[in-house]
C-alpha cells in the first residue's frame, strides 16, 4: 500500500488550479435561462390579478362568480379541490377569504381560462355581502394562486372516491366531477350531498347531465334537513345512509367538505361503520367557526368580552380591541392593518405571528403550528382567540413568497 504524498499531491493541486483557469477562460459570458424557477413562479405567483367575467345565480343564496386573468396571462394550474384566497378592502378592513375553485382545471387552461368561485350570502356575513354587492362583470380583484391540500393524490387515495358534501361544501366536488369526466375516466365519484331542502341543491342540473353521460363513473344521492316529497330522503348523512349508498366502504377514500358541525357528527358515524382507517377520511378545513363557544374547551362565559390588543408591525405599535369570540386576525383586519392570511383555518401558517404576552385559545381542529414555533410562542392568529389582553408582533404585509 502506498499513500497520498505531498509532492505529487501538490502537483495535482496545481493542475486543478490550471484546470480552473482554463475552464474560466473558455466559459461563455451568457446568462443561463432558469425554466424551473419561471415555472415555479407561474404556478405560485406573488399575486393573481383577476377580473370578474360574469356572475350566475345558482340558488337564492348562492352566486357563482366567473374570474379570469386581468392581464391576459394564463391562470396557474391547480388540483380539483384547491382554493384561492381573495383579497378585499371592506370599508378600510383589509380581509381575505378562501374560496374553493368550483370550476375544473381544464377550464383554466389557455388564454381564455377561467376560475369559478361560488359564494353563499350569509346573514351578517361581512365578506359574502361585500362580494355579492360589489362584484359584477368587470370588477378587478386580487387573489393568491391556488393552494390547499384537499385533493386526490394518486399515491395515497383509492380511485373510487366517496364525496360527502354539506351545503356549499359541494364546490370542490363540482371541480372534481367536471375534471374527471373530461380527463380522468379512471376516477369515480359517489357524491353524498346534504342540503337544507330541494331548493338548496347546488349545481344539481349540470351534475345530473354529467352523470347521465357517465353513469358508471359518477353517482349523486341527496339527503335533506326538510322536504315534502315522499321519495326524498330526510335526515343527516349518517352511517346508514353511507352504507346504503357505498359498497365496500373499506376500499374507498372519503373526501368530506362542509361545516365543522357536520365533521363532528360524521366522525362518530364513521366509527359505527368500523373497518375504516383514519387515512380514508379526508376533511377539508372549514374556516372560522360560526361560534367558538361551541368548543367544549372554550370558556363560553367570555362571550361578549373584549380585550386590549397591542399589535407591533414594522416597529410601530397599534392599540386595538379584540373580542374574545373572534380570531385575533379579524381584530387586526378590522383595524385596517394587513396581515397576510390564506386558509383562515390554522393550517397553512401564512399569518404566523409572535405572541409576546397574553393568554390565548387555539382552535384544536387544525393547529398547524410547527413544534418549535409552539415552543417559541408563535401563533396562527386566524385560529387563535384572546383570553386576556394580548401583545403580538405581526410580519410585514405583501408576502414575497406565497
Amino acid at each position: 500500500m502506498s499513500k497520498v504524498k505531498l509532492i505529487p499531491g501538490a502537483f495535482a493541486l496545481l493542475a486543478a488550479l490550471k484546470d480552473r483557469k482554463n475552464r474560466i477562460s473558455s466559459a461563455g459570458t451568457g446568462r443561463a435561462p432558469d425554466p424551473v424557477f419561471e415555472m415555479a413562479k407561474r404556478m405560485h405567483p406573488d399575486r393573481l390579478h383577476l377580473v370578474v367575467a360574469g356572475v350566475r345565480n345558482e340558488t337564492d343564496t348562492v352566486k357563482t362568480f366567473v374570474l379570469k386573468a386581468a392581464d391576459g396571462e394564463q391562470l396557474p394550474v391547480f388540483q380539483p379541490g384547491q382554493y384561492i384566497s381573495v383579497k378585499l378592502d371592506i370599508d378600510g378592513s383589509k380581509v381575505s377569504r378562501a374560496y374553493t375553485i368550483s370550476s375544473a382545471p381544464y377550464e383554466a387552461e389557455g388564454e381564455n381560462g377561467i376560475y369559478e368561485i361560488a359564494v353563499r350570502q350569509k346573514e351578517n356575513g361581512l365578506v359574502s355581502n361585500a362580494v355579492w354587492n360589489s362584484y359584477q362583470a368587470g370588477t378587478a380583484l386580487d387573489a393568491t394562486g391556488p393552494h390547499g391540500d384537499f385533493y386526490w393524490n394518486p399515491l395515497r387515495d383509492t380511485k373510487q372516491i366517496v364525496a360527502i358534501a354539506g351545503g356549499a361544501g359541494i364546490t370542490p366536488f363540482r371541480s372534481m366531477i367536471r375534471q374527471y369526466a373530461k380527463e380522468d375516466p379512471d376516477l369515480s365519484v359517489t357524491l353524498l350531498y346534504g342540503c337544507k331542502n330541494d331548493r338548496d341543491i347546488l349545481f344539481g342540473r349540470e351534475l345530473d347531465a354529467i352523470i347521465q353521460e357517465h353513469p358508471d363513473q359518477f353517482k349523486r344521492v341527496n339527503t335533506f334537513e326538510s322536504c315534502d316529497a315522499a321519495d326524498m330522503r330526510r335526515g343527516f348523512i349518517d352511517a346508514q345512509f353511507i352504507l346504503d349508498n357505498v359498497e365496500n366502504p373499506e376500499s374507498k377514500t372519503f373526501f368530506i367538505c362542509g361545516p365543522a358541525i357536520m365533521y363532528r357528527f360524521l366522525r362518530k358515524e364513521f366509527a359505527k361503520i368500523g373497518k375504516l382507517e383514519r387515512k380514508q377520511m379526508r376533511y377539508e378545513v372549514s374556516g372560522t367557526p360560526d361560534d367558538v363557544c361551541a368548543y367544549a374547551d372554550f370558556d363560553a362565559s367570555l362571550k361578549g368580552k373584549e380585550f386590549a390588543l397591542k399589535v407591533i408591525m414594522d416597529d410601530e405599535v397599534h392599540e386595538l380591541t379584540a373580542s374574545a369570540t373572534e380570531p385575533l386576525l379579524v381584530a387586526v383586519e378590522r383595524a385596517g392593518l394587513i396581515l397576510d392570511s390564506r386558509c383562515r383555518s390554522g393550517e397553512c401558517g401564512i399569518c404566523r405571528s409572535k405572541l409576546v404576552s397574553g393568554d390565548v385559545f387555539v382552535l384544536p381542529d387544525n393547529d398547524g403550528r410547527r413544534e418549535a414555533d409552539r415552543d417559541l410562542g408563535y401563533i396562527h392568529p386566524c385560529s387563535t382567540y384572546p383570553l386576556s389582553d394580548v401583545v403580538m408582533i405581526i410580519p410585514p404585509a405583501g408576502a414575497g413568497q406565497t
Binding site: V4, L14, D34, V36, M39, D340, Q401
Partner: protein
C-alpha cells in the same frame, strides 16, 4: 418604520449561511438587516406540516457537532458563540442499506472501528488500507476545521505547515485517494454508499469534503434533530433579534445595487431601498449575478465566466410520508436508509439527468431515534433521490404533477419491497417535492439545493485559496450551499460565520461602519 434607511450589513436569505452570518454580525455589534422572502426563517433547514405530521425537509443528520468534551465547530458556534443549546439525540445505528445486485442487506456501522471490522469481515485483508484511508479522512476534517478557525484567506504555506494532508489531497478525486491507499473495490462498495451526501461519482468528486463526511460519520458523533432542523433555524432567528438584529420576513430582496464595483444597497419587492456596503447573499451566484446585481453592467465578464464554467448542481425529488402505523409495527428499526440497484455509482449518477426513476435513493425514518417525531401509532418515512433540474424545467404544469408522482411511486414501490411492507396502504399524508418546489420556496436557480458540483477544480481548498481573487464585487459575499465550504448543513452554517469575520474585524478596528 422607515425602511429607506441604512444598515452596516444586509443578509439576503435566512438559510443556514444567512442566519449564521447575521447572528455573528449582530453578536459583534454590527447593525444588520436580514431579509427573508418566506414567512418563516430557515430556507431548506426547515419543516412543514401536513395533517397531524411535521416533516423535516432536508437535513438527515447533524455532523461536525462533536461532544461536550470534544466540541465540533457547529457546537462551538451555536452553543458557545450564540448561546443556543438544543438537545440533539445521538444516533447509535448506522445506515441501513439495501442493494439489489449483488443482493445484499446490511447496516453500515457508524463507529469507525466497527466500520473497519465490518468491512474486514466481508472483504478479508481490507482492514489495513481502509484504516489508513479513514485516518487520512480524519486529517481532512482537522484541516477543514482549521480553515474554519483561521478566519482568513488561506495561505498555502500556512496550510502546508499545519495540514499537509489536505494540500496533498486538495487536487485529487476520491478515486485517486482510495487507489493510492489500495482500498479494494469491494470495500469501497461499502464506504461509498455515502455518495448520495455529495452526489458525484468517485472519479469526479473532490476528495477532501467527501473525506470529512467519512470522518464526520465514523469518528465524530452523529445527531438527529428532535423537533426537526426548523428548531435550529427558528432559534437562530430568535437569537438574532434578541442580539439587536432586524429580521424582515415576507420580504424578498430583488436587487443588489452596485456602483464602481462596490455594493451600495438593496432593493426589496416592496420597492424600499436600503443603503449598505456589505451584502451576504444566501443565494446561488447564478441568481445573484444573473438576476440581482443592478445595474447588470456591474457584473464583470470574468464573474460570468467563473459562473458558466460550472455545471449547475443537483436538486432533489423528495417525498415525505406520514404513515398510519408505528415504525415498530411496520418493522422499521433504522433511521437512515440507502436503496440501490447496483454498486456502480457512475452508472447511477448518469441516470440523474433524466426523468426516469433513479437507480438509487436515500431514506429516513426518524421514529427509531425520536419516538415522538410523529403522533403515537404513526411514523414518518422520507425518501429522496438526486435529480438534475433541466428535464424538470421542460415539463408543462400538467405533466409536472403527473411525472413527480410517477417517479415518487417508483421509489415507494422499491422501498416497499426492500422494507417488506406495502407502504402505499399506510400513507396517511404525502407530499412530493421536485426542483420546482425548491425553486418556489427558496427561489434557488433551477431549484438547486446542493449548489455546485464538487469537482477538483472547484474544491473547498481551491475556493479558499482564491477567495479574495474571485470576489468580483467588493462588499458582496456568497454564503450557504454555494459558499466557501460547499454544500451541506454544517458547511452552510460555517460558511456564513466565516464570511462575516472580515467585516467584524474591520468593525472592531474602527475602519468601517
Amino acid at each position: 418604520m422607515d425602511l429607506n434607511q441604512s444598515y452596516d450589513a444586509v443578509v439576503i436569505g435566512t438559510g443556514m449561511g444567512g442566519l449564521a452570518a447575521g447572528c455573528n454580525l449582530a453578536k459583534n455589534g454590527i447593525n444588520v438587516l436580514m431579509l427573508e422572502q418566506h414567512n418563516i426563517p430557515g430556507g431548506v433547514t426547515t419543516s412543514f406540516r401536513r395533517g397531524r405530521f411535521e416533516f423535516e425537509v432536508s437535513v438527515q443528520c447533524i455532523l461536525e457537532y462533536g461532544s461536550k468534551d470534544h466540541k465540533g465547530p457547529i457546537c462551538e458556534f451555536l452553543v458557545d458563540d450564540l448561546g443556543i443549546d438544543i438537545d440533539f439525540p445521538r444516533m447509535t445505528h448506522g445506515r441501513m442499506c439495501y442493494i439489489t445486485d449483488p443482493n445484499e442487506e446490511f447496516v453500515l456501522p457508524l463507529d469507525k472501528e466497527s466500520l473497519i471490522a465490518f468491512i474486514e469481515q466481508r472483504v478479508p485483508g481490507s482492514e489495513h488500507s481502509v484504516r489508513a484511508y479513514l485516518d487520512f479522512s480524519d486529517e481532512q476534517m482537522a484541516a477543514i476545521n482549521y480553515i474554519n478557525e483561521v478566519d482568513a484567506v488561506i495561505k498555502p504555506v500556512e496550510l502546508l505547515k499545519k495540514h499537509k494532508g489536505i494540500v496533498a489531497a486538495a487536487g485529487l478525486t476520491c478515486k485517486d485517494v482510495t487507489d493510492k491507499f489500495g482500498v479494494p473495490q469491494r470495500a469501497l462498495d461499502y464506504l461509498n454508499v455515502y455518495w448520495t451526501f455529495t452526489g458525484l461519482p468517485m472519479e469526479d468528486m473532490s476528495y477532501p469534503v467527501f473525506g470529512t463526511i467519512h470522518s464526520g460519520m465514523g469518528t465524530e458523533p452523529v445527531y438527529a434533530a428532535k423537533k426537526t432542523t426548523y428548531e435550529i433555524s427558528a432559534r437562530m432567528a430568535e437569537r438574532f433579534v434578541e442580539m439587536g438584529g432586524h429580521l424582515m420576513l415576507n420580504t424578498r430582496a430583488e436587487k443588489i445595487l452596485v456602483e464602481n464595483g462596490r455594493v451600495k444597497g438593496v432593493v426589496t419587492n416592496r420597492g424600499e431601498t436600503i443603503t449598505t456596503k456589505y451584502v451576504y447573499a444566501n443565494t446561488l451566484p447564478h441568481t445573484v449575478l444573473g438576476k440581482m446585481i443592478y445595474p447588470q453592467s456591474e457584473v464583470p465578464v470574468k464573474a460570468l465566466k467563473a459562473l458558466n464554467m460550472r455545471k449547475t448542481g443537483t436538486s432533489f425529488l423528495s417525498l415525505y410520508m406520514g404513515l398510519d402505523r408505528s415504525a415498530e409495527e411496520l418493522g422499521m428499526k433504522d433511521y437512515m436508509y440507502y436503496f440501490a440497484k447496483t454498486n456502480d455509482i457512475t452508472k447511477m449518477y448518469n441516470g440523474i439527468d433524466t426523468l426516469d426513476p433513479n437507480d438509487c435513493f436515500a431514506g429516513m425514518c426518524p421514529n427509531p431515534v425520536i419516538p415522538n417525531a410523529s403522533p403515537e401509532g404513526t411514523s414518518i418515512l422520507h425518501l429522496e433521490t438526486i435529480t438534475r433540474s433541466d428535464a424538470w424545467g421542460a415539463l408543462s404544469g400538467k405533466e409536472y404533477f403527473r411525472k413527480k408522482h410517477e417517479v415518487a411511486g417508483d421509489l415507494i414501490d422499491r422501498a416497499s419491497s426492500a422494507l417488506k411492507f406495502d407502504i402505499r396502504r399506510h400513507i396517511e399524508e404525502i407530499e412530493v417535492a421536485a426542483p420546482q418546489t425548491f425553486a418556489r420556496y427558496i427561489g434557488s436557480f433551477m431549484g438547486n439545493v446542493y449548489g455546485y458540483d464538487l469537482r477538483t477544480f472547484d474544491s473547498a481548498v481551491i475556493k479558499a485559496m482564491l477567495k479574495d481573487k474571485e470576489r468580483f464585487i467588493a462588499g458582496l459575499s456568497i454564503v450557504g450551499n454555494a459558499g466557501l465550504l460547499t454544500a451541506g448543513f454544517p458547511s452552510s452554517m460555517l460558511s456564513g460565520r466565516l464570511a462575516s469575520i472580515e467585516q467584524i474585524e474591520e468593525h472592531a478596528a474602527g475602519r468601517e461602519c
